[in-house]
Subunit: 198 residues, 2 copies
Amino acid sequence: MNQLNLSLPDWINSFLNEYPKIIPDPEKQMRFVLALTERNIREETGGPFGSAVFERDSGKLVSVGVNVVVRQNCSAAHAEMMALMLAQKELGHFDLGADGFPGHRLVTSGKMCAMCLGNVCWSGVSEVLSSAEPEDVEKIAGFDEGPTPPDYNAQLERRGIKIVPELLRSEGRAVLQLYVDLGGKVYNARHSQESSLT
Amino acid sequence: MNQLNLSLPDWINSFLNEYPKIIPDPEKQMRFVLALTERNIREETGGPFGSAVFERDSGKLVSVGVNVVVRQNCSAAHAEMMALMLAQKELGHFDLGADGFPGHRLVTSGKMCAMCLGNVCWSGVSEVLSSAEPEDVEKIAGFDEGPTPPDYNAQLERRGIKIVPELLRSEGRAVLQLYVDLGGKVYNARHSQESSLT
């Protein structure tokens, strides 16, 4: 009753073996994350969201995450949460911005929901790159973004976190559309059960 | 790199053995949660926050959580997150409000931060009881509550989640004050390292 175990899908390791361990270019980082997201859709292992944490200056990959809410029986297992928690495990610290660490960047296929926005503030990352906008996530894929504040970007910036939204947004939208076209499920818990879009 | 393990402190089991498994009265549920929070403070196993999930009608205890951010190297390991994730594990479903389940209530020592508010919306609980208010958490203990929306309660209610704030608020404030009096740490990640209040 007091132990939690969460894991990413088995295909993650073979996916990572296809890519370099260092990806300095921000657009290439986002293409990597969108490919990760597409793989999660095609493997049918979760919702249409992917994320990764990189060292900000070197581009060294620290962790990845995909949405595994349904398979892991965990409403918190969003892509950003998995990537941030795994990065903190990797570094052995709850604060990726602690003294002695290089700066860290979260790269994510869709702008964070309310929960993930909160954890970004607590995680210690100093930068976020996102692709699809909340309206894309809600209109194309039908997922609720939750109780985010009207001054979303400013809330990050006042905590020293730079956000670069809409990076490769059209590609990010295309990945969401792929999920819908393949009949992916929208599992928002408040609907009390899974419902298919198709 | 793809596996996460999070656990509550070892004293949880002996704590639980001191209480009944069914606590129907909401005030008694909150006193249980505040005692759990005080234990986490006195054991020095984490921040001054505790939570529990109960079946709403029967009062059956489903799970508990305490803040274990620093010890578990995980900025997401807030009390509410631990309790919700453990309840979902216990039921084998990401949605505590899914068909066939009784309604569930989250009882928490402090009103949720931005991250935990988001996960409450995704978790499937139908009711939240909270004690200390965000201003208590910020003014007494110095923790940032994060980017919550101005229409906090309405955001829950529009998703079918009833919130009863300020239940035994003075007792909730006293637990926060105890943490400060004992020299507890405020670990908000944006400060880039732990800082003691004393």
